[in-house]
Amino acid sequence: MHTKHAKHPITYGLLAEFDDQHSLVDAAHRAHVAGYTKMDAFSPLPIEELHHAMALPTTKLPALVLAGGLTGALGGFLLQTWVATMAYPLNIGGKPMFSWPMFIPVTFECTILGAALTAVFGMLALNGLPQPYHPVFNVPSFALASRDRFFLCIEAEDDKFDLDDTRRFLQSVGAKEVSVVED
């Protein structure tokens, strides 16, 4: 570990490049089996299998969105109720003060708004985005990750990480090229 601190620049990890998603999924799965935990796979398109291959956790996002939606609904409904019955009760065309059926459209819209905002900002927050700077971007070929190449990065922080062993391991699972990611 102390070797890492002595080095300048610090090694973030090793990045292996693959030609197609099949190889990536395969490599990632084998890395997982090999006991690597601190790693990440990158692809230009979502690959559902990757998630399973790496045994990644299922996101909590749906629960958050539900909470966001309920907050919106409750907030919207209570706001209207408070305005109509407490803040300034007024006789509007003979309708009761608490005309709850007429509060439903706004409540509904507030539900959607709360849920949608939670979905987007929750997704960003959980993903740690925005993150315009990331070590992997230091690897020039990583630009192709958004086009047609597939990458697997094993991070230096992983307990099993060893620059040479890991490089060999990656080459063994079919990496076309392995580069050092510097931070």
Partner: protein
């Protein structure tokens, strides 16, 4: 993708009718083709000319609105009894157009309709721009637009709040939610593509700008997982939202007590009408775009055909709505309702009503014929007719109901002024301006989703299913 092995009849573009993407594409070619429109292709003369015309229209809008604020609503032809005319007609028309974008991207996503992929991006953009145009009208149709913020529940020194029983407040919430959610949906969809543009841009400025908006997207597996979850959830939220928006818009009328407005059929009939006009607008835009940008491989005959079928179906729902209106007027034996229908049919505005019936019901029946659905110029003309028809529908509902209501002493007529037209055409200018900018600076087809559509990709869907 079983289509590839079946003997399929080829259409005039050399593709099977059912193909959603042209032959011979892989993820590399898809990426390069779409990204190149934004990054490397020269700005064409057609684009420049079109943009200038559209921008002139937007300028006219700016001028009209400025004059409106200085002088007042009186520059339009509105009066008492016709308090709403072009303003709200345009509002409903634009909002309706917007609905197709959300429908394509959200509902078709939930229904796993693969053909949505190549059209959803610009349909969503169209939604956003249409909502922006629509939003202008409720704001500027007020007598004192600088006080429009009173429609929002903001704490204030007066201690008074919006009146939440009013459909206009519902509108405010519905339209602003709709605009927000549409913008988020669109932007979230754009993020991976912005990353592509960031990585493929050759200019420093392009890299920085696209990079900033790409939020540092790097295609990480966990990111994709959350991303897809969020996108699906957004689609699930946008679907009831889009239905609610036009429902709420229809409440503007249905909550009123005016004959011609006070109708329970309005919500479904308005939503169907919105989709109808929205798909018409998508076709109106898609046909020239695929032609000028050579996107025949991505926006295929199947797309156009499917949209034509959706139009046919929603058009029939709308026709049913017209029928129910007339039937209820007769069945209720209500003097005012009966008069309202007769007044539409042979009152002073009869040409509008019959033009509406022709544009929205009679002519679109041509879509039953496959030869019409696959004839692109014909489809284009039909989509324009439906756009006009749907504008007329809102005009008929609003003006023809208002102009002769309960007391004959207060009957009146509405005649648009120059400023009515300049404001309306101005919003079309604004819409096209935004659309031109969008086509030039952002990928108008979702690149990453197209990658998933490429035939023959090695990891097929069922293979690793757990």
């Amino acid at each position: 993708m079983a289509q590839n092995v079946l003997p399929v009849k080829m259409n005039q573009e050399g593709m099977p009718d059912t193909a959603v993407i042209g032959p011979g594409h892989n993820i590399t070619s898809v990426t390069d083709k779409i990204a190149s429109i934004v990054l490397t292709e020269k700005t064409g003369i057609v684009w420049v000319l079109g943009f200038l015309v559209a921008a002139a229209g937007a300028g006219m809008l700016l001028m009209s609105l400025s004059y409106l604020v200085v002088k007042g609503i009186g520059i339009w032809g509105n009066n008492i009894p016709v308090g709403w005319a072009f303003d709200i007609t345009n509002f409903v028309w634009w909002i309706g157009i917007g609905h197709a974008g959300t429908l394509i991207s959200a509902i078709l996503l939930l229904l796993k309709q693969s053909w949505r992929t190549s059209i959803n991006r610009f349909a969503e953009a169209m939604t956003l721009f249409a909502v922006a145009c629509a939003g202008i009208f409720p704001l500027f149709h007020t007598g004192r637009p600088w006080l429009a913020y009173w429609l929002f529940p903001l704490p204030n020194t007066m201690g008074v709040w919006p009146q939440f029983r009013s459909p206009l407040v519902w509108d405010v919430f519905a339209v602003s939610t709709y605009a927000t959610v549409s913008a988020l949906f669109w932007f979230v969809g754009l993020v991976p593509d912005l990353a592509t543009l960031r990585d493929r841009s050759e200019s420093k400025v392009g890299r920085v700008i696209y990079g900033l908006f790409a939020l540092g997207w790097r295609g990480s597996a966990m990111h994709w997982h959350r991303y897809e979850t969020a996108y699906l959830l957004l689609a699930g939220l946008a679907t009831p939202l889009v239905v609610s928006v036009h429902t709420v818009v229809s409440f503007d009328f249905a909550v009123g007590i005016l004959p011609g407005w006070h109708t329970t059929i309005f919500p479904p009939y308005f939503v169907a009408g919105a989709i109808y006009s929205g798909f018409a607008m998508v076709i109106t835009l898609a046909v020239p775009i695929r032609y000028f940008y050579g996107l025949q491989d991505f926006i295929t005959m199947r797309h156009l055909q499917n949209m034509a079928k959706v139009m046919l179906v929603t058009g029939l729902v709308v026709a049913y709505g017209y029928g129910v209106e007339a039937f209820m007027a007769w069945y209720s034996a209500n003097n005012y309702e009966g008069f309202m229908v007769l007044n539409r049919i042979n009152g002073p505005y009869w040409p509008f009503y019959w033009a509406l019936i022709a544009c929205n019901i009679v002519i679109p029946q041509l879509l039953w014929f496959k030869s019409v659905r696959t004839n692109i110029p014909m489809l284009f003309v039909l989509s324009l007719i439906i756009n006009v028809g749907m504008w007329l529908e809102r005009f008929v509902i609003i003006v023809l109901s208002l102009h002769r209501d309960f007391l004959p002493s207060s009957w009146g007529m509405f005649r648009p002024t120059f400023w009515d037209f300049s404001t309306f055409f101005g919003t079309i200018g604004l819409f096209l301006t935004l659309l031109f900018l969008f086509c030039r600076f952002l990928p108008m087809i979702s690149i990453f989703e197209m990658r998933t559509m490429v035939p023959g990709k090695r990891v097929a869907e069922g293979e690793h299913a757990h």
